[in-house]
């Protein structure tokens, strides 16, 4: 069973068309939720950490929010350079071996001019 589910799998937006990506998780006792960006053929690049429900983080056109069961990555007025795969991840449940993250399968975002 997946610990982290991302939707949609793929999203195509016109430049300037705002939207949101979703990440839902099933681990209990959340110790953080992490968003990454991955460009084709490259390793994921860390974007945000969220630790508690209600928390928000922003970076340029991206804003990440967290509730008790899911996180959203809002993209405002996207540009073609925002095209990438966005991954979210959560730490393993307490009692599991420390340090590991469960990753979602990602949302592939394409922004066309």
């Amino acid at each position: 069973e997946d610990q982290v589910t991302q939707s949609p799998e793929a999203l195509r937006l016109q430049e300037g068309e705002s939207s949101s990506l979703n990440c839902s998780y099933t681990v209990s006792g959340l110790r953080g939720l992490f968003w990454y960006r991955q460009d084709p053929g490259k390793g994921p690049e860390f974007l945000f950490t969220l630790y508690s429900a209600g928390e928000e983080k922003e970076k340029e056109r991206l804003k990440a929010t967290l509730t008790k069961k899911e996180s959203f990555l809002h993209i405002t007025a996207p540009k073609p350079e925002d095209s990438a795969t966005y991954l979210c991840a959560v730490p393993a449940d307490r009692g599991s071996t420390l340090g590991r993250l469960y990753f979602g399968r990602g949302t592939q975002l394409t922004v066309w001019p």
Binding site: R31, G32, G41, G43, P44, L98, R105, G106
Partner: protein
């Protein structure tokens, strides 16, 4: 800035060969990880290490082994490469403390086994 480097960007090997993938980080991180990434399957953890000479199995350790003799270096070994190990391999590292779970990734090695 954290820098994680991997020995090769692209690698082509033959079935049955022993393959070494190397990862080096320059930020004195305690934890290091090996993942493979396949279309539709996402990132899957192979092995990780939280200290020199220590290792823990991830979700898909079969057919792989690892070595961590120095803190900055974590090697992934394919004992006898098979075609189903064709994949993108990603190394990551993280520190202890409050940023324990912030993993920093290398550029990846795309391995093809023929």
């Amino acid at each position: 800035d954290v820098k994680v480097t991997q020995s090769s960007r692209y690698l082509v090997k033959r079935t049955g060969e022993k393959v070494f993938l190397e990862c080096v980080q320059d930020m004195d991180h305690e934890n290091m990880f090996w993942y493979r990434q396949d279309p539709g399957l996402g990132l899957r953890l192979i092995y990780f290490s939280y200290d020199v000479k220590m290792k823990e199995k991830g979700d898909i350790p079969e057919g792989y082994s690892v070595s961590r003799e120095k803190k900055e270096r974590f090697s992934l070994i394919l004992e006898s490469a098979s075609t189903n190990q064709t994949s993108m391999y990603l190394c990551a590292s993280s520190t202890d403390g409050t940023r324990y779970y912030e993993q920093y990734f290398g550029p990846g090695t795309r391995l093809t086994v023929t």
